[in-house]
Symmetry: C2
Subunit: 92 residues, 2 copies
């Protein structure tokens, strides 16, 4: 059985690399707001995503935090302000 995780990814990377990181993440999970993605991903795709991300960043300068959850049910999320993912033109 394919094991699926729910993941949340937030990144703090040099401006020169933001687009590259954004493009990798967009292939696997869903944009929420600048520097923040979420979604269900298979273990295999998590490996691919991390491999690709590590090729794009400068590991001495950039930081990507990946939070893993067994399912979305353990997460309660509140939004203060606007839901940027619903206002797609705002993505960067």
């Amino acid at each position: 059985m394919r094991s699926i995780k729910y993941i949340l990814v937030v990144y703090d990377v040099n401006e020169k690399r933001i687009n590259k990181v954004h493009k990798v993440l967009k292939k696997y999970i869903i944009w929420q707001q600048n520097s923040t993605f979420e979604g269900n991903v298979t273990q295999a795709n998590i490996k691919r995503m991390i491999y690709e991300l590590n090729k794009k960043i400068n590991s001495k300068e950039d930081s990507i935090l990946i939070y893993f959850f067994n399912s979305k049910t353990v997460i309660r999320k509140e939004v203060d302000g606007i839901e940027k993912w619903n206002v797609s033109s705002n993505f960067i």
Copy 2:
């Protein structure tokens, strides 16, 4: 018994308001990297924090995502790149 939640806060706010949001969050939880804070907080302090945040942001333009967890144990976290919270001078 004081109920404690583990929370993760990520924000995408106008540059003019970043410092204000940062200063509120720093009172309650721990800076991880730009736009990202985490920590254990009482329910009462969560209310205070959200009240203060909403006074600082422009709710038509800014976005703050707050993720609530019953405990830190449901979270597995991986860092790719550097741990910015360990390199404190990098905080903005």
